[in-house]
Amino acid sequence: MKIKLFYFAKVREMVGIDQEEVDVESDIKTLAELIAFLKLRGSQWQAIFDMSSSFRMAINQELAEASCKINANDEVAFFPPITGG
């Protein structure tokens, strides 16, 4: 199933891209499973996702937890803790 991925701020700089579309196996059902899949890409990706304090997630533009379900055509985003305002 196809999922759109967005990266922002320091996370964007670390992964080196701002957005992409991935086609993942349908046994990837949660954000946690998506993260495990992305960590296979290499040490930089592992470094980001192993620091749980360093990133936050959103599904379809709403803040989400690792246990949240993902579906085909979802928009998933990874970014650092918010520092606006």
Partner: protein, 148 residues
């Protein structure tokens, strides 16, 4: 009940907004919050600019959600939020909030609630650009009160 959020690069003029909104309502009170880029000077390192990145789409959604929460919790006549992104110079405003209500306590509580909530839920990220370097601001630094 009117809600409006603006996410923009340009400067904003909170008073002309306040005056226009005032005409629409029979409010007893308005409370306005404005947050600014604060100067700092750590030895040689002097802040020159702030760069704000955001998540277009989610930002507007998050701000509207915060407005709804405030509207449901207090009796308000109007809520207006404007947040800037891009490059901001020292002293410039970053965020503006205007709340109109019949009574002052509701206006104060709602305005304070909105800015607190915005700081944890609206997807903005600050990068500090000094005369020597540039780096992303930690959320921790914000909790420590370095920022407003």
């Amino acid at each position: 009940m009117i809600m409006s959020v603006y996410v923009q690069q340009d400067l904003f003029d909170l008073q002309s907004i306040t005056q226009q909104l005032k005409k629409l309502h029979n409010s007893g009170a308005s409370v306005t919050f404005e947050g600014y880029v604060r100067d700092f000077d750590l030895g040689d390192d002097k802040l020159e600019m702030l760069e704000l990145e955001h998540y277009p789409g989610m930002t507007e959604k998050a701000l509207l959600n915060i407005e709804s929460l405030a509207m449901n919790r207090w009796h308000l006549d109007d809520v207006y939020i404007v947040h800037r992104y891009g490059k901001l110079k020292v002293g410039e405003p970053i965020v503006g909030i205007v709340v109109f209500a019949k009574h002052r306590k509701e206006a104060f509580d709602a305005c304070h609630f909105i800015i607190d909530f915005l700081k944890t839920d609206a997807p903005f990220w600050k990068k500090e650009i000094t005369n020597h370097q540039s780096y992303w601001v930690d959320a921790k630094k914000i909790d420590d009160g370095k920022w407003n």
